[in-house]
Subunit: 234 residues, 2 copies
DNA sequence: TCGCCCCATTTTGTTGACAGTTGTCAATAA
DNA sequence: TTATTGACAACTGTCAACAAAATGGGGCGA
């Protein structure tokens, strides 16, 4: 059982009154899941949670039903709810969806590009090149994340952005999560430069293609890495 | 209030025991929303529903929280839940997401195309041409729906298919729903033929482009029709 | 007549309790 | 030793009741 009884997260919950208890619980549960504190496959015990958060089971059940609809947990009747476990096949499917959404975001962004944004994006890619030379993955990863987030949130389509983030989050449920983050840093950043050029040109077709390809290649790297060693999906 | 007290749908609910009451209620509520029996903006009264379905409020609350996560209803604290109302801007955003997903489906399908599927798809397009000549929209619409569904469900990516359908469903919440279905029948079917050719060629790039463009053009038709007359989104 | 305040009613938020189901473990028999 | 059975414990599914908030209407005063 991965439950602890510290009261840390509890404060955030008790303070709020403007927002419903259910949604606060949902946010907290989502955090626990995405950070891995609740591991994929783990069972979510309603009584334990209600004790931990000092509420009854009702709001917790509502929160888990919401998380089920979002695809983060699985509800089995008379058995309980479990943190969803993604297979390699699931992860690959998600990559295709991600590629489609990210490509569309690139297209939209190319058609509404600004100089400031181009400067900001270029700076991120430059810094990624720097840390990639040093092979420092720990520094590369957050920059990479910021780069992608900036593109998606700037494309002007909030629906698309929300969906994109939902699927990126879902990848956290993938057991062999290290594979997702792997891949050549320098190679990946060369793709970033191609994306930048397409965005700067204002050519929507080209931007969509480069952005789509970036995720598609990441998927390829995932498959290649997966078929090598840790391909078990039990 | 659009509630009636007939016991028709109730039977389906009481019979089942293997599936939870919550998910049965959720399905029924989703049906009521998508068919328009519960109109966009309508308030969902927990007590009324619990009386109507003969349950307590608990399962109904869980079902509505799930529908909220799916984007079909909106929950306002201490006020209740309302059937979500889509603005024109929302609908346009959804079209972009749909285009991205449909394009990806086209690409995937092109790479795993079979002769039988091509025959089946061609038959649908042929029949659409027939009824389009007669200007019979009532016959065209279900054929068109079947055509798109067949493509998406055959692409081999269940995650993508589920997302696509989720967004198509959400379009039912758009007030000026007639606009969504509008557009030239013959024009639209000409795009279908281009998609067929791309699928038959097995060229993923080309298939993605033709499929993406098909939805993008539908979006354009929506915008054109919307800016003309019924552009109010109150 | 118009605007504001107060109170009753309605509705939601949350809780605790009970019933039914699942999983476990020990005792028994082969 | 191993398989089976029965009882117990833990947990989920559902419900009814209480508390808090919002809605609506009537009365009062300007």
């Amino acid at each position: 059982m991965t439950m602890n009884t510290d009261t840390g997260p509890l404060n955030d919950l008790s303070v709020v009154k403007s927002v419903s208890l259910t949604s606060a619980l949902e946010k907290e549960l989502e955090r626990l899941i995405l950070t891995g504190e609740l591991e994929p496959g783990a069972r979510i015990n309603e009584i334990h949670l209600s004790n931990r958060f000092g509420t009854s089971r009702g709001p917790i059940r509502e929160a888990t039903r919401s998380l089920e609809a979002k695809g983060l947990v699985e509800v089995v009747r008379n058995r309980g709810v479990f943190v969803r476990r993604l297979t390699v096949e699931d992860a690959i499917e998600i990559y295709d969806v991600r590629a489609a959404l990210f490509g569309q975001a690139g297209r939209l962004l190319a058609e509404r590009m600004t100089d400031e944004l181009l400067v900001e994006l270029t700076r991120l890619v430059d810094r990624m090149d720097m840390v990639a030379d040093q092979g420092s993955f720990d520094e590369y990863y957050p920059l990479n994340l910021a780069f992608h987030n900036l593109i998606v949130t700037s494309c002007g389509n909030r629906t698309l952005a929300a969906e994109y983030h939902r699927f990126v989050n879902k990848l956290h449920l993938f057991r062999a999560r290290a594979l997702v983050q792997g891949g050549g840093l320098a190679v990946s950043n060369r793709e970033h430069r191609a994306m930048l050029e397409a965005l700067a040109s204002g050519d929507g077709d080209r931007a969509q293609m480069t952005h789509w390809r970036h995720v598609a290649l990441a998927k390829r790297r995932l498959i290649a890495a997966g078929s090598g060693g840790a391909s078990r999906n039990d």
